[in-house]
């Protein structure tokens, strides 16, 4: 069953490469949250019960509902609609996401380590690589926050892959990191949007004073 969810997660990465509307980014992010909830749910025999409940709430509440709701608010406040043409056309981004998925699947085939759950490692690595690529090619701060969240999802999967040791601490730290980051960035974007009327990187880089 968790294989199906891994594949669904991979497909959601492909949809990220294709998507061009901001609202679609938020929808796919919340879908990823639900998929991660499913993944944790089905690995229930690996983790202790208290940590387990905590991670469940983290995924379903924070990743799948809270953060997308907040991002939506920011989007509506700044009236962001479409992504402006990224540096690399979408056609080639799709090819790149497939190559990164293929590479991480092949790499995890060659890793032989009894303590590593390679089935999560595959999409975790692909997610981190794709998140970084996403930030590099898009021109817009909102997209950068979305890319950051993709990387965070990847790190979450890494924590599932690596360990049954102290998942609580790891997840607490990551959670704090994510929530604070998104809150701060969201407020930041709102203020910038209000005074400056643009969220493009090009214009923001000229803000040196």
């Amino acid at each position: 069953m968790d294989y199906i969810l891994i594949i669904l997660y991979a497909v959601s990465l492909v949809y990220f490469a294709v998507a061009e509307r901001m609202s679609k980014f938020v929808v796919i992010l919340s879908m990823q949250g639900f998929i991660l909830f499913g993944v944790v749910f089905f690995s229930l025999n690996e983790i202790e019960i208290f940590d387990f409940v905590f991670i469940l709430t983290e995924t379903i509440l924070v990743k799948a509902m809270l953060i997308p709701w907040f991002m939506n608010r920011v989007r509506k406040h700044n009236q962001l609609k479409r992504v402006h043409e990224p540096y690399i056309p979408v056609f080639y981004s799709i090819i790149i996401v497939i190559l990164s998925l293929g590479a991480s699947f092949l790499l995890s085939n060659n890793l032989q380590n009894a303590q590593l759950h390679t089935k999560f490692f595959t999409v975790a690595l692909a997610s981190v690589m794709f998140g970084i690529y996403f930030i590099v090619v898009h021109r817009n701060i909102f997209s950068h926050v979305v890319g950051y969240l993709i990387i965070e999802n990847g790190i979450f999967l890494f924590s599932l892959a690596v360990g049954s040791q102290m998942p609580l601490m790891v997840n607490l730290a990551v959670l704090l990191d994510v929530v604070m980051g998104v809150l701060v960035l969201g407020i930041f974007i709102n203020r910038i949007g209000d005074t400056f009327h643009s969220v493009e990187i090009k214009n923001l880089s000229e803000l040196k004073d």
């Binding site: 294989y3 199906i4 594949i7 991979a10 497909v11 492909v14 949809y15 490469a17 294709v18 061009e20 056309p89 979408v90 056609f91 799709i94 090819i95 996401v97 497939i98 998925l101 293929g102 699947f105 092949l106 995890s108 085939n109 009894a114 590593l116 759950h117 390679t118 089935k119 595959t122």
Partner: protein, 306 residues
């Protein structure tokens, strides 16, 4: 009894566009036309004469016949309800795909034959989209071949049912990709809007702009049969072969009706993509097909994960 498959596909093809039209008017709130309305339209076309453009050559007159013949011949390979196709052989899926490409080649050059800028537009868009969708079909069939070890349609579909826990993953993603491939190959939304009146926005409709009478009727029938063929492939994924024959035939018609209804719904609620976003949308199909292939590699235990 393999002639059964041809009869079933043709019967389903006749009702298919009728169901789509009924669903669309149901959603919008109009009075539904008869389910046989498209059939009546085609019969009316057969009764009319034709106008041929003076610019055209034998290619224009030959193309609708070749288009129909290729689609008809590709019906001979499809298994249905557990029966083999008439001419099943190993790797017939390659022949199937290239046969359909032959039909498309002739339609494209017939469109260019008229010497009109409109048809030229449709021709080169059609050539690009059919080029982009080929890999998706082959990769999906490749995943099946990887899983089952067979290569003809009949063998593939009968053995994919022999189940391990995971064959339904392949089944579901195969159906998902096939529905989108069917939408692209038959020029439906979101790649092409069959209802648009603006030639600059058409792909398939504008290629047949200069056809009339018998030729146009033949082209309509061919596109229905083509749709029915793809839905037959989808039903082969979903129906288990060990059910009784009558039950399978009933489910076959049910699946055809459901797919037609879903098409109608999609067409009512979705707009067509911007034309220059179409290539990347079609490439996404190949990407999902490759993800399916990777999944099959895991299932076939070529990629070993723990």
């Amino acid at each position: 009894m393999s002639i059964l498959s041809i009869i079933l596909i043709i019967v389903a093809a006749v009702f298919f566009p009728g169901i789509i039209g009924m669903m669309k008017s149901l959603v919008v709130g109009r009075k539904m036309p008869s389910i046989f309305q498209p059939l009546f339209d085609v019969i009316r076309l057969f009764k009319k004469g034709s106008i041929y453009s003076t610019t055209t050559s034998f290619v224009f007159r030959l193309a609708p016949l070749v288009y129909f013949a290729t689609v008809f011949a590709s019906m001979l390979f499809l298994p249905i309800a557990g029966e083999r196709g008439l001419l099943t052989f190993d790797n017939d899926l390659v022949f199937f795909a290239y046969m359909l490409a032959l039909g498309k080649f002739f339609m494209i050059i017939a469109a260019m034959d008229t010497g009109s800028g409109f048809e030229g537009m449709g021709a080169n868009r059609e050539a690009l989209y059919s080029m982009l969708v080929e890999p998706a079909f082959f990769i999906t069939m490749g995943s099946l071949a990887l899983f089952t070890g067979y290569t003809s349609f009949y063998d593939l579909f009968t053995s994919v049912q022999i189940n391990t826990d995971f064959s339904y993953i392949i089944g579901i993603s195969g159906v998902y990709v096939l529905i989108f491939i069917a939408m692209v190959e038959n020029s439906r939304l979101p790649v092409d809007d069959p209802r648009t009146h603006l030639e600059l926005t058409m792909v398939h409709e504008v290629m047949v702009l200069d056809y009339s009478g018998f030729d146009l009727g033949l082209i309509h029938i061919t596109s229905w049969i083509k749709f029915s063929i793809y839905t037959t492939l989808i039903s082969n994924f979903l129906l288990p072969v060990d059910w009784p024959l009558g039950f399978q035939i009933a489910c076959f018609f049910l699946i055809q009706a459901v797919v037609a209804g879903v098409m109608g719904l999609l067409e009512s609620f979705r707009a067509r993509n911007k034309l220059d976003k179409n290539p990347q949308w079609i490439l996404m199909l190949s990407a999902i097909a490759i993800v399916t292939f990777l999944a099959t590699l895991i299932i076939a235990e070529k990629i070993v994960l723990n």
